[in-house]
Amino acid sequence: MDLTTRNAVQGLMVRLADGDRSAFDPLFDALWPSVRRFAERALGSAADADDAAQTALLKVFERAAVFDVDRDAVAWIFGIVAFECATVRKRRMRRREDDASVAIEGLADDEDLEQAAIARGLHKALVDLVGNLKSEDHDTIIAILSGQRPDVPAATFRKRVERAMSRLRIAWRTRHGHD
């Protein structure tokens, strides 16, 4: 901002502080581009600069009525703008941190998905194996899984379970190479 504009801003700000509404438009016209440019340089993003410049200017005009006319208006105004830029920068940083934590949570969700996929794969492999067992072993394992014990003596059922599980283990080892 050159010296002429600086002096003009000072004069307009003094008039506005006194209540002279006719100083509003020229002051706004002088400030908006400079404040916008300052914020863009400070923040490096047009969207953030718009936010910061708007909020800062609203604060400047809201406090214009209590502006101390002995102060340097430009320094006072750009102090508010700089503070607003710092606030936007902090907010942006916090947003990034939040995004990062959401991403980490997302990773956790992905792990759950992986576990579910593994479980689904195991289940499918087991169903395939059980389906290939003899009908007696197949029925016994289904009875175990469903919790419906057939109408046979307990000792008999226990032997059938041991036999079916042993055959299932052998079949699994044969197909997948490990327990």
Partner: protein
Amino acid sequence: MDTIDAISVRARAKSAYERGRLMRGARESAVALLPAGLALFGGTAPRTVLVTAAVLALVVLGLRSRGELYGRAAFVGMTAGLVPLLLPLLMHRSGFCCIGGMSCSALCLVACLGGGLFAGALVGFRASAGERMPTRFMMAAGLVALIVGSLGCVVSGAAGVVGLAAALAASAVPVAMAFAVARR
């Protein structure tokens, strides 16, 4: 030409400015508590003080929010009004003046007239001292001085307030004109 963003920001900034002025006016209208307290201390009826102080606060709020000469007039009027506020109250409290007795009331009335003349002279002098619109300034400052002064002059009834208003007007205009002529 303004972009849509700048147009919207300009409108919001204007509202923010008016809001800021109103808040400042509201804060400064608390100054009405001072003459109200003095009037209560001096013996003015609490209900009268309450109503008058509320009107004073509203007038100060309006003038200070409006700003410029009106804002300045509010404080000049407040200062000028302290004289017709304090004179009858002091006389009333010190026993020189009481309500009911004709001669005592007349003393209070004299105090109101004297205070009004002084306040008017102060307003007129200040109006002629560099204000671009001295008539408006005198009207605004005179109104505030009248309200502040009536907090004290009301102890001598409506006559006290009317006398104060007449004295204010009678001295403000000629003093303002005299000083304006003298400065040319």
